[in-house]
Every structure is written in C-alpha cells, then in structure tokens.
Symmetry: C2
Subunit: 228 residues, 2 copies
Amino acid sequence: MSKNLTQQLTHKLGEAIVKGDYPIGTRMPSEAVLCEQFEISRSATREAVKMLSAKGLISSRPKQGITVNPETNWNLYDSDVLEWILKSKPSLHLLKEFTQVRFAIEPMAAKLAAENATPAQINQMETALYRISEAQEGLEDQLDAHINFLNMILVASGNRFFIQLTQFVDAALRVSIRYTNQVKGISNTDVTFHVKVFNAIKNGDASTAQKLIYDVLSEALTLIESRL
Amino acid sequence: MSKNLTQQLTHKLGEAIVKGDYPIGTRMPSEAVLCEQFEISRSATREAVKMLSAKGLISSRPKQGITVNPETNWNLYDSDVLEWILKSKPSLHLLKEFTQVRFAIEPMAAKLAAENATPAQINQMETALYRISEAQEGLEDQLDAHINFLNMILVASGNRFFIQLTQFVDAALRVSIRYTNQVKGISNTDVTFHVKVFNAIKNGDASTAQKLIYDVLSEALTLIESRL
DNA sequence: ACATTACATTTATCATATAAATATGCATTC
DNA sequence: GAATGCATATTTATATGATAAATGTAATGT
C-alpha cells in the first residue's frame, strides 16, 4: 500500500468509485463524513479528493458536495485509474477494448520505430529480444520480457504520445493473460516473430514492421471476439 | 480563469512547468515559498501540488521537496496537461505528433463506429453533419462543427478508450489551424467528404469509413511533414 | 573506512476558525 | 401566477498554528 494517508485514501476511494460503490452522478459522503469513516484529518481527506478530481473521477463544489463524474470524464490513460479498473472489473469485453487500442496504436508505432529508432534504441531492443529468448528457457518471466520488447517499440517511435502508452500496453497485456492464460495468440510466444519485427525495425523497413504487428494483433482480436 | 485559488495555482504552476520554467529533475520552491510567492495559504498550495502530482507532473517527498518529474511521467492525455502544452510550446513538430496519434486512432474508430453505432448516435451524427453545412454558410463556427462531427465518430466507436480521446482530437484540431490557418487539408472543408463518411457509417460499411478517414489523415500528415 | 547516531529541513497530518459559494425555500413584486 | 430577489443553511474553500513523520546530511564513534 502507498505510504502516506492521502495516497491511501486516494486509492481506496478511486477503486471504490470505479467498482461502482459510489454510483455515477450521485453525491459521495461529505468531506466531514469521509474524515470520520477513514479516521483521518480534513487536510488528508481534501488532498485525496483533489487528486481524484485531478484524475477526472469526481468534482466538488460548495453546497453540492462531492459528486462522481460520468465515465467520459475519467482519465482512463492515467495509470492509477487503469489499475483501479483492472482491479475492479476485469472482463473479456474490457480486454477487447484494450486490444482495439493496441490494434490502432502499435502497428503505427512499429512503423515510426522503423523510421526513427536511434542506434541506442536498436541496441536496447536487441537486449529486450535476448530477454525474451532467455525467458523461453525459463530464466526470466516471459510476460515481462514481452512487455519490455513492445514498450521499446513505443519508445523508439519517438512520439511522446505513443511513449506515454507504455503503461497502457503493459496493463493490456497483463489482463490478457488472465483470459488466455498464455501469451501465445496475444503476442506470439515464438521468438522468431519478434526477431522478424526487430529486423524490420533495424533495417528501417517500416511497412514490414507495421504489417507484422498488425497481423498478430488482428489475430489476437479475432481470438478475443470469438470468445465473447 | 478558474474560480478557486487551488485551481488557479494548479494552472499557473502546471503551465510554468510545461513551459520549462521549472526544469525537469530540479526542485521547485518549497511549500512555504510558494505560499509567499502566490500569497495564498498552505492548504490551497498543498492541494494544488497534489493535483499536479496526480497528473504526473511533480512528486513531493519530505526533505527532498517538490521535484519536477521527467516528461514520460506526465499524463499527456489529461486535458489540462494538453492545454498547458498547447499554450506553452505549440510547434509544427507537436502538430505532427498529434496527427500521428489521430492517424492511428481515427480510422479504427470510424471502422468501429460503422460496426457499432446506435440509431441515436447516427441521428446525432446527422445533426453534426447539418452543423457543418450550416457553418459553411457562416452560421456557425466551422471548426467547432468539424470537431463535433469527429467526436461523434469516436463516441460511436463504443470503445471507452477512444471516447476518452475526444478532448485530445479537439486539441489536435485546434492547434492544427494555427499552422494551416484553414481546416482544409486537415479535415476536408468540403462537406461532401463528411457526407461520404457519414453514409459509410450509417450503412455499416466499416472498411469504407476506415479508408476515408485514413486517406484524409494520410494527406494531412504528408502536408505537415512537408513543412517541417 | 564503515556504521551509527544526531540533527536539521521539508513535507505530512491534525485541529480549529473563518470565508465563500450555492442550492433551497420564502417572500415580494409585477 | 410567474418571475425575481432575498434570507438562510449547508458544504466546500481558505487560512493558520501546532505537531508528527520522513529523510538527506553531517557528526560521531569504533
């Protein structure tokens, strides 16, 4: 758990809101009541409320109190909010939504990576590739290695908005194995696939890099949709 | 300007950080100093600090003080952060990054919209279409009408992560006209284009909807890159 | 040289008081 | 009767002072 009281309350309330304990549009307990319930001071409570409103989950106004915002206001790309969503309502439908975003983003990121990756980034990708092959022999966690490789592609894209999505992709992949119980199908276990992607990016072959990622995600999406 | 002191300070500091007034990795003025500088109480100051740290811009720890986080920690999809970025360092390069994200997202959103749009959403899109044609005759702001139409596509996708990006696309389009000084080229002024997109979505023709948006954004991106 | 302790600084928390905002109901006016 | 203005009660917003906890740094001891 987070160390300080403010963050603890932020997480507790954030999770509760996402879970639906405080329905959208309704008023949450007032500042004073929250203090009582969680036995902390007003300062800590108010700061937690501010953090949640900064993430779009709630808004607070005098007299009206603290109200839960509609989901469209939530900062879904905030890693805390993502974490709460995953913790509270994981579902195959959610996985589909995640994968649709990946399907939109990652092929483009691979394309950009092929066009823009620096030599240093190529080296890091090669290291990531090595980690995947090691993982196959059980030396390292397979999922972590995969995520690391995919994150490197996002980073190498050079577009800060793609880079920002590393946490998103991380979350998406971690939820995916809850349902598929294997990395295969989501992101091919076979390291030869990753080698192909790596070579395409290294050689600046943008369209091949794009197509490789596109195809594997297309397959993943089809698999998920077949199970819905 | 925002009404309450906390939000005012949040915006002032957020903007200043993004602008680079407080370089990344450096310590910001301490709580006490911020109170003095802005002549507000510690409560308000601390709450602003909490909001900024909720958005990933800063982190604060005892003794170490308030430090500016690396840009990779910033929640770039937060509409406040976006606003500050646009306000502080608009550039053609930024526009390119924006458009790359749109290029990744919007064709897919159009495809999903064609597959999933509800009758009510189709109606709303038709209204949006009407607003564009009205705007052409000067009755309404052209840009707003365009943004409204594009947002409807995102909403109709049914994927909450795409829906969340309405603010992003809004920001992207508003910055785009600063450089192109026209909506044309970014999102075809000619309403016939939008009619085509609308019809494709209405008829459930996913691939056509996707291709239409893909093509217009491809063109926009080429235009931007030619000017870099 | 290393570990331990003491200290100083900064944020974190608590408590209390006052101000400002605003929804609600009431009265007043036309 | 409808609309407008006003009083009031409730809730958050702000201010302030005091204490606690965390943590980097320096002093100390072995």
